[in-house]
Symmetry: C2
Subunit: 161 residues, 2 copies
């Protein structure tokens, strides 16, 4: 079964991410090429996740290297951060919430309506997160870089309708 990447959904998340990072974190990210992931696991230093429920179920995951998280959160909080402490985790949760909210508004303008769940944030060296989705679910990863060349990813998965 082919899993086409829905351009409207990809664009909603790209524009949502750009808008929130630009307005809240004074960061204009470089956007890489979106691709389908063959599995639903990911690794990162700090990760925010938020569930979407509606006609079908979805999941949005923002995964940051320590460096990217510290750069972006330092700008968001106007306070220098060099480690993933509780403030950084809270800020990543807030960012996940805002980016998902902004993207949901854009999806809604395309007739796709979702409710968002409680955001969760995970930290810990070499942590691994797996989403329990069906084999037919497509996971799309959009790679971003900060202006300081630090990597973070925005991923989304939707179950088939």
């Amino acid at each position: 079964m082919s899993k086409p990447i829905n351009a409207a959904v990809v664009n909603a998340f790209i524009e949502g991410t750009k808008n929130v990072l630009g307005t809240m974190c004074q960061t204009n990210p470089v956007i890489g090429k979106p691709s389908l992931k063959s599995n639903s696991s990911l690794f990162g230093d700090v990760t925010g996740a938020i569930s979407l429920t509606g006609e079908n179920n979805g999941l949005v995951v923002l995964s940051f290297s320590k460096e990217a998280a510290c750069t972006i959160v330092s700008r968001m909080l106007y306070e220098e951060k060099s480690d993933i402490d509780d403030d950084v985790m809270d800020a990543v949760g807030e960012m996940t919430n805002m980016i998902t909210g902004d993207s949901r508004k854009r999806l809604s303008e395309n007739g796709m309506n979702y409710e968002a769940g409680i955001p969760t944030v995970v930290s810990g060296e070499n942590h691994k997160i797996s989403a329990m989705v069906s084999d037919d679910a497509a996971t799309v990863v959009i790679p971003f870089k900060t202006d300081k060349d630090e990597a973070f990813n925005v991923e989304f998965t939707f179950e088939p309708k």
Copy 2:
């Protein structure tokens, strides 16, 4: 503001957990005293989480020590597991899904209806998970032990209605 523990909700999760572990994992757990948590962070070796959306937002989290996860999953899969590998993570996701589903049915019988999101599973030594909830949200933790005295917790948080 006081945060009373809703007995019907606690019982739904206790009975849901007992039922799934008994029927799927041949495990009759010992149930400790439910308590309110002062913060929404937790630590564990492997953790399953699932969002609930409805009249208000909720989150269900199952957190296992490595030993508890391996004992329960070995019985579930009829295969000896001594480490947290992909099979164990999948099984923890499936267990989170089943326990939440069973508990949701019980909540629904009490007039509380929720949609469940995509389950996620986190592993990694010293990982930390925080739920981004309002200060008024109550997080209840129900401590369980296997018959081999290995600890796991079932936690739930609901935003105020």
